[in-house]
């Protein structure tokens, strides 16, 4: 296949991944604000989308490696990147369908590692780096956020215990809007930049851009627009899980959870550890549930969420490996991967229409789906 055609395919796929990254992660910033009514659902996703877009333009620190050093860059070809991206997209769509907040970054890393592994062998994968930069932070992030969220929630309740009960939620809701906005902005800066990095480095490797150049303006604009559009469409299924499925969130818990998540993310990225926004935010919410006097935490949902965190990397890796090995085989293989990937996406979308979760019912408590039964919904066009 002509190199420029392959690069074009990679660019489009990277933007599709960026889009799924947006709607997968809307929940991180906005789930608790939507759950407590601090923001109306549509307002929340619109605000988050705008801030993601702004965030994408705020800083363009050029990524030096596609995978952040997790695999040997010499082994990365456009076909490998394509396979890795397809693996990540497939996993993001699947977890979105079942409403699980899994990390988009882990999906991306997993996909790239899987595709590199089958293309260049296990020697090209830097396992020590993987443990150091991905696995240990993945374990630490939710724990730190959970601990902070728990203590913060408990103190918020204690301090405002004697305040008039009808006044406190309003104050905390304003705080929620501020912290949710900061999270959205930070998300745009971090995640949109990953896509910009992938596109730019792939174009450099193919010779379409000179060595060492930064992302062209059209790359910045399109990556920012893709993540903002995804955010605006709203991953309502995941928002519902995080906002209503784990614990009953009131304004003080929502604020404490988000302030904790924001503090952990900004501190860690400033000090040089890249934590998964998803893990941090979910950890904060779990902690807020634990810190609330007499609160109930839905451990079943929390357990499924943790399971999704663990299997995201290997599952996306497997999908990436499969897509990578087929795409590596040549033009026909690449076309097959593209067609199968599109068919998979369409299939998930059509299935999701049977049980629509949107702005209209995002605050309903999720019910366990009964296998084989179609859930009747009204107002399906609201999404």
């Amino acid at each position: 296949m002509d190199v420029s055609v392959l690069v074009t395919i990679v660019v489009v796929t990277a933007l599709i991944f960026d889009f799924t990254n947006g709607f997968h992660d809307t929940a991180n910033a906005m789930a608790t604000s939507i759950a407590t009514g601090a923001l109306r659902p549509k307002t929340a996703v619109a605000l988050s989308a705008v801030l993601n877009l702004v965030g994408a333009f705020l800083s363009v620190e050029v990524a030096k490696t596609i995978s952040g050093g997790l695999v040997d860059d010499a082994a990365i070809t456009p076909a490998v990147v394509f396979g890795g991206l397809v693996g990540a997209i497939v996993w993001n769509l699947l977890t979105w369908y079942v409403g699980l907040p899994s990390s988009s970054s882990h999906a991306l890393f997993g996909g790239l590692i899987g595709a590199t592994w089958v293309a260049a062998g296990s020697d090209a994968v830097r396992f020590a780096k993987l443990a150091e930069k991905v696995l240990v932070p993945a374990l630490a992030a939710p724990l730190i956020a959970m601990f902070a969220g728990m203590v913060a929630t408990y103190l918020a309740f204690r301090i405002t215990r004697r305040a008039t009960a009808s006044r406190t939620p309003r104050g905390f809701r304003i705080g929620q809007i501020a912290s949710a906005s900061m999270l959205s902005l930070a998300h745009g800066t971090n995640d949109a930049q990953k896509t910009m990095g992938i596109i730019t480095l792939t174009m450099i490797s193919a010779g379409s851009l000179p060595q060492g150049s930064g992302p062209p303006v059209w790359v910045i604009v399109s990556a920012g627009a893709a993540i903002a559009l995804g955010t605006y469409l709203g991953g309502w299924r995941i928002i519902r899980t995080l906002g209503k499925g784990i614990t009953d969130i009131g304004a003080p818990q929502g604020f404490a959870a988000q302030a904790s998540a924001t503090a952990v993310i900004l501190t860690s990225s400033h000090l040089g550890i890249a934590l998964s926004t998803t893990h941090v935010c979910s950890g904060g919410i779990l902690g807020a549930g634990l810190g609330t006097p007499q609160a109930k935490v839905q451990w079943g949902t929390a357990g499924r969420m943790v399971l999704a965190w663990i299997i995201t990397l290997p599952a996306a890796g497997l999908a990436g490996a499969l897509a990578g090995v087929v795409a590596e085989s040549g033009t026909f293989g690449t076309v097959v991967v593209a067609v199968v990937g599109l068919a998979f996406g369409l299939g998930i979308y059509l299935r999701s229409r049977r049980d629509v979760v949107g702005a209209h019912n995002v605050n309903d408590i999720p019910v366990e789906p009964i296998p084989g039964e179609t859930v009747e919904t009204t107002g399906g066009a609201a999404r």
Partner: protein
């Protein structure tokens, strides 16, 4: 494998104190503002409440500004 435990502990300490500190400040602000609103409803005023709220929210705003600076400056 080289895990930087010192850095992780640093993140834990800094993030934990920032998060908990901000939430304490904001809660104190909400409390002070609520006390003042209560006093106002009875026709009086609560100067201590207003002052607590003003100082707390101002400090929270400073934390937000610092956070924005971190996002923009990387």
């Amino acid at each position: 494998m080289n895990i930087n435990w010192a850095l992780l502990v640093e993140v834990l300490i800094v993030a934990f104190s920032t998060a908990v500190g901000t939430v304490i400040l904001f809660s104190l602000g909400v409390r002070g503002w609520s006390d003042h609103a209560d006093a106002r409803a009875k026709g009086g005023s609560n100067v201590f409440g207003v002052a607590t709220a003003a100082v707390s929210f101002a400090l929270c705003a400073a934390v937000v500004a610092f956070g924005l600076w971190i996002i923009v400056a990387g």
